[in-house]
């Protein structure tokens, strides 16, 4: 059964244990950090930071409040990255994780064209810009741990109960229950419908757009968009081909024949040669 993680923003206190656990389990090298105008650290996701707690200062009930949001790959049910990739290097597994085959399964067909980065609606896949033969990197939903029946490293490390791992269906039911039991929650499970649904789900007590989520987005899976234009290809090929062939023979009868062979000529250089 497909797994998921429920992230409850109201419970997160921003300790960043998940960030550390992710680095440790996945053996990702430390990277130098930089100053930036927020409390987030590292300032952005990149090839060596697959998850990150965002610190949002927001105004709620006339008070300034902190909200902390752990972000990583959403593990979409119908991932844009998978459909965009013409070497099928990203793939959604039946257990839930969206994995990158070159590193996960050692099936290296990726050409590094980075179309997946253009396609992902959450700007998740990151590129190893410093490598001669770079891979794409992103959260892998601790695919190996899931196969051993373990929860992801970040979930295991979370001391606040903000992250909960389980069957996606059960998590959805629990999320609805929490929303019903407590009026403080925004009545929306982010990830239930967005782009056809994602394996990671979010609950919040402040509007999602105030804590860095894209809201009002399409509920249609992105792969469907490209399929809607791609499926016309064979018809265009055959139809346009037939029209062109017909035109070719129709107009040929009327056209006069030109001896092409001696119409054209090579030309001489005009500029002065350098002596």
């Amino acid at each position: 059964m497909p797994k998921g993680v429920l992230v409850d923003v109201t419970r997160c206190f921003g300790c960043r244990s998940c960030q550390v656990a992710c680095k440790q389990w996945n053996d990702i090298p430390a990277t130098p950090t930089t100053f930036n105008n927020s409390w987030d650290n590292p300032p952005e996701l990149n090839a060596y930071n697959w998850t990150r707690v965002e610190y949002h200062l927001i105004e709620k009930d006339n008070q300034i409040k902190w909200r902390f949001v752990k972000r990583q790959c959403m593990h979409c049910e119908e991932p844009a990255c998978e459909s965009a990739c013409f070497t099928h290097s990203f793939v959604k597994t039946k257990e839930g994780p969206v994995i990158y085959k070159p590193t996960e399964l050692k099936q290296d067909f990726c050409v590094g064209c980075r179309y997946c980065m253009i396609a992902c609606p959450f700007n998740i896949p990151k590129f190893e810009w410093d490598k001669a033969l770079p891979f794409l990197r992103k959260c892998r939903f601790c695919n190996d741990r899931l196969h051993e029946g373990l929860e992801p490293a970040c979930v295991a490390a979370c001391p606040s109960g903000a992250l909960k791992f389980g069957e996606k269906e059960e998590l959805l039911a629990e999320a609805r229950q929490r929303i019903d039991a407590n009026p403080a929650y925004i009545k929306h499970i982010y990830g239930e419908k967005e782009y056809g649904g994602t394996s990671w789900l979010y609950l919040s007590d402040v509007p999602f757009e105030e804590i860095g989520f894209k809201t009002g987005v399409s509920e249609k899976p992105i792969p469907l968009y490209s399929w809607e234009v791609l499926r016309w290809t064979p018809y265009i090929f055959v139809g346009w081909g037939a029209i062109l062939t017909a035109l070719y023979f129709y107009t040929k009868r009327r056209a006069e024949v030109h001896a092409e062979e001696d119409m054209y000529t090579a030309v001489e250089t005009m500029e002065e040669e350098k002596k």
């Binding site: 070497t87 067909f109 050409v111 980065m117 253009i118 346009w240 250089t269």
Partner: protein
């Protein structure tokens, strides 16, 4: 009588060769140390100058090949024959450049051949990749016919002769498909690409503009070649081509407006944002003004008139592609990107290769029309041609 192979080295050509040499050095550094070393690309801007300009614009500019092929070889409009070969040549070189740019740009370049064996048909990029690869081959074969006029090999030429008609037709279908799929690449960027450019029919806009760009490209290229080789520009041909461009641009404008209104985003064009201003410049300066210029006989019949309008059309298509790749994506991608000097150098180097190859080929192969023939073709088709200047041979 066969002339010897020749390529005179003029000062300009030395500069071009130097640029190519620099490009090769940068390319070597890039292949050994990775993209981060030479480019300013980053996680916000995975695609930059090489994809945005060299690939997307290079291929669009090469559109001259397929519109001319359609007009001359499928519709058999013989009066355009004088420009047919030059258009094919530029187009072929444009594609080769685009493929080289792609090879430079992809991170795992050792895997470049994989997509031939791994069929990711659910991706638009799959269609782009196959069409460009096949079409480049088709163009090289088409060019082979000309090549064999110079390097005689009759059996080969005969075989190619038979294959020519199907090649020509496939050589129009393929670019139609991939010019549009280049635009469709951005269909997945729904919610990312600004709605002024994102559209389910962005593919139509791409292929349509590549097509009407063709005559403009032929005009500019023909004028430049005429100046470089002290020949008479084929003005009557340029003029009658403006009709094609004019009508296609009007259709483009109308469909664009309908599309915006249908998606309910028409008002976004006037909200004063950066995107809206760029969009208005694109539509007014590079679509509406050329339409007006082409529509007025007093402008269109003058050489300066057609050439100016053509330059506007060409810059306009480049501007449109840049808006899709950069302007339209900026808000959603965040971060900054400006090409590094090295990226510029590679781009300059690639276009220098194109110019050098063009010069070498027109000086050694029968590409440009013989001047007395230009007159003849024009006369039989009832168009007048200016005083022909004897070539400086």
């Amino acid at each position: 009588m066969q002339r010897a192979w020749s390529f005179k080295l003029t000062p300009t050509r030395y500069i071009l060769i130097a640029l190519v040499a620099l490009m090769i050095i940068v390319a070597i550094v890039r292949f050994i140390f990775g993209l981060g070393m030479v480019t300013n690309l980053n996680d916000h801007w995975p695609w930059g100058l090489w994809i945005g300009f060299d690939l997307l614009c290079g291929i669009a500019l090469a559109g001259g090949g397929f519109s001319t092929a359609l007009i001359v070889h499928v519709l058999h409009r013989g009066k355009y024959l004088p420009i047919a070969r030059a258009a094919l040549l530029t187009s072929m070189l444009g594609y080769v450049i685009a493929l080289v740019a792609l090879l430079f740009d992809i991170g795992r370049w050792i895997n470049f051949w994989r997509p031939f064996f791994y069929w990711g048909y659910h991706s638009v990029l799959f269609e782009v990749f196959w069409c460009i690869a096949l079409y480049t081959t088709v163009q090289i074969l088409e060019f082979g016919d000309i090549f064999l006029e110079r390097v005689k090999s009759f059996p080969l030429k005969k075989v190619l002769g038979y294959a020519m008609t199907p090649l020509l037709i496939v050589g129009i279908i393929l670019p139609t498909l991939h010019q549009s799929s280049l635009g469709q690449l951005y269909v997945v960027a729904v919610d990312k690409l600004h709605p002024l450019w994102w559209s389910m029919i962005i593919g139509f806009f791409f292929v349509w503009s590549a097509f009407f760009l063709g005559p403009a490209m032929v005009t500019l290229e023909g004028t430049l070649a005429a100046r470089a080789y002290k020949r008479t520009p084929e003005l009557p041909i340029f003029q009658s081509l403006t009709k094609v461009t004019l009508w296609m641009m009007i259709v483009y404008l109308i469909v664009k407006i309908i599309d915006l209104v249908y998606r309910g985003v028409f008002s976004l064009a006037f909200n004063g944002s950066f995107e809206s201003n760029m969009f208005l410049i694109e539509m007014i300066v590079f679509v509406i003004i050329p339409i007006i210029m082409y529509a007025i006989p007093a402008i269109r019949t003058k050489l300066w008139g057609v050439v100016t309008a053509s330059v506007l059309v060409i810059v306009g298509v480049i501007f449109n592609r840049m808006n899709v790749v950069f302007t339209g994506m900026a808000t959603q991608m965040g971060g900054h990107y400006f090409p590094s000097p090295w990226e510029w150098l590679v781009t300059l180097g690639m276009w220098s290769v194109l110019i050098l190859a063009y010069l070498f080929i027109v000086e050694n192969f029968p590409i440009l029309i013989k001047e007395e023939h230009a007159k003849e073709v024009a006369v039989t088709h009832g168009a007048s041609v200016g005083k022909s200047v004897p070539s400086g041979a």
